[in-house]
Every structure is written in structure tokens, then in C-alpha cells.
């Protein structure tokens, strides 16, 4: 059995965590991401080179892990399990457009859905198991089952999991932290994940 020790949900201009709930007034996704990044007060210039999906993953994981640190765990003891319905379509479309002039190498490297996990792992020094699922809709049962399996491995202590769905001006990003340690929050079940996602 594991526990949900924190979460961060970003959608429709709103950022919700277990400790805070606020809005960022921004006209476009790009403005929202830039404002969200500047509020983090971190110096990570690579943020500007990421595609929106990775930027959202970075933003959500940064907020989540600022509230609940994972630094006490060894890098190999932390896993990442993410999902979405749009794969990397958001960047695929922009890459396709870039090919009309000259294919952009920096866009091309983001034309895989799981790159967002790499960015999160690089930022937080995570070296555990990674998995990315494409599903038609947010699937708390899938996350609960898979993450629970991952956490059953002896060396795994925590898992950053959730949903990073981004396409054009639409975004719905929900990350949570599941930990083995008891008494860290809600029990990690599909029902509790769904509750946090819909609140």
C-alpha cells in the first residue's frame, strides 16, 4: 500500500495543490507558462527551449516537489509514470509546419510524448523506472494499478505520476506524488486519485 503525499493540477488558468489554489491571468498558453515559470523563482533557462507539454510537466512537477520534497530518496528509488490522450500531437503539428521552410531540430526532439518525463527526471535527478501511457481519457484506475505495481519493487520509494494532456490552447495537467511511507496523505487508490483530479 502507498500514499498520495501531494498533487498539482493545472487547467483553465488555475493551479491547485494540497496547499494552494490560485489563478494566473494570461491570454495565451505561452503567457500562462511564462508567468507560471517566473513565479517559481528558479533559474532554469532550458525551460524556454522545451515544448509546451514539457513546460507544463516541468511547472507541475516543480510546484509539486517544492511542496513535498523527494530529496530524501536515492535517484533510482523514484519512478515517473505519466499518461495523456494527445501523445506529442501539439509539437508534431508545429514540427510539420516548420518543415514547410526547414525542419526544426529543436522541435523534432520533442516529437515524442515521453520527452516530458526526461525533462522532469533531468531537473530532479530521477533515475528510476519510467512509463508513459496514451489513453483516450484520464484513467485513475490505470495509474493506481501501474504505480502500485512499480512501488511494490523493494528499491522504489516514490513515484511522480499523472496526466499531462496538452494540445494548442487546451491543457489539463495533473501530477501527484505517491510514496511508500505510511501516514503521508490519502491512500493511493483510483477513487482518491479521481477525487483529487476532480476537486
Amino acid at each position: 500500500m502507498s500514499f498520495i503525499s501531494g498533487f498539482c493540477h493545472i487547467r483553465e488558468g488555475r493551479i491547485i495543490t494540497s496547499l494552494q489554489d490560485y489563478r494566473i491571468a494570461a491570454g495565451t498558453v505561452e503567457e500562462f507558462l511564462n508567468e507560471g515559470y517566473s513565479r517559481l523563482k528558479v533559474a532554469y533557462p532550458k525551460f524556454y527551449k522545451m515544448d509546451p507539454q514539457s513546460q507544463f510537466g516541468f511547472l507541475a512537477s516543480e510546484i509539486l516537489l517544492q511542496e513535498r520534497s523527494i530529496k530524501q530518496y536515492p535517484p533510482e528509488g523514484i519512478s515517473v509514470v505519466l499518461s495523456n490522450s494527445t501523445a506529442s500531437l501539439d509539437t508534431d503539428i508545429r514540427f510539420q509546419k516548420s518543415m514547410q521552410a526547414a525542419a526544426s531540430p529543436s522541435l523534432f526532439v520533442y516529437t515524442l510524448a515521453n520527452i516530458v518525463m526526461g525533462e522532469i527526471c533531468i531537473r530532479h535527478g530521477i533515475k528510476g523506472e519510467n512509463a508513459f501511457f496514451i489513453t483516450p481519457a484520464f484513467d485513475p484506475q490505470l495509474l493506481a494499478d501501474y504505480v502500485e505495481n512499480v512501488l511494490e519493487q523493494e528499491h522504489v520509494e516514490a513515484c511522480v505520476a499523472g496526466w499531462v494532456d496538452v494540445l494548442g490552447e487546451y491543457y489539463d495537467v495533473f501530477l501527484y506524488l505517491a510514496e511508500k511511507k505510511s501516514g503521508m496523505g490519502q491512500v493511493h487508490t483510483a477513487e482518491e486519485i479521481e477525487k483529487l483530479y476532480t476537486q
Binding site: 533557462p45 524556454y48 521552410a101 526547414a102 531540430p105
Partner: protein
Amino acid sequence: MADLKVQIIDALNLKHLKPEDIGDDQPLFMDGLGLDSIDALELIVLLQQKHNTKIANAQEGSKIFMSVRSIADYITANQKN
């Protein structure tokens, strides 16, 4: 060179920088501006698209992309009109 710096910032999404933050002779890679191999590919595209300049010999890349000045010198010497 100021225009070239603007183009580099735009092409490489260096939004945390202003043109005046980049020295004419500042190294662009490694401990300098910290550019990486993907940035090098974007610079090649930039030279082709904006300056009609191709790098004939890939081995020369590290010298050409040493700094903004070295890029400007290469464009001046090799631009096809």
C-alpha cells in the same frame, strides 16, 4: 552583429537573454553560453534560411560556431547572393 544576436536568441529560444548579454567573442558552447548539439543544428538552419550560407565542411563547425563574431565572419565570407 546585433541583428545576428537577435536572430540567434529567436532561433534558439534564449528568451532569458538580451542581445547585449551576449559578447561578440563569448564562447557559445560549453562553459560559455551553454549551447548544445541541438542548438548547433538550429544554427545551421539559421545560416541557411536567413543568410543563404551553407557549411560545406562539417569539421569546420566548431570553429564557425565559436562565437557570434566567428559566425558573422563566416557569413560575410561565404554568403551566396
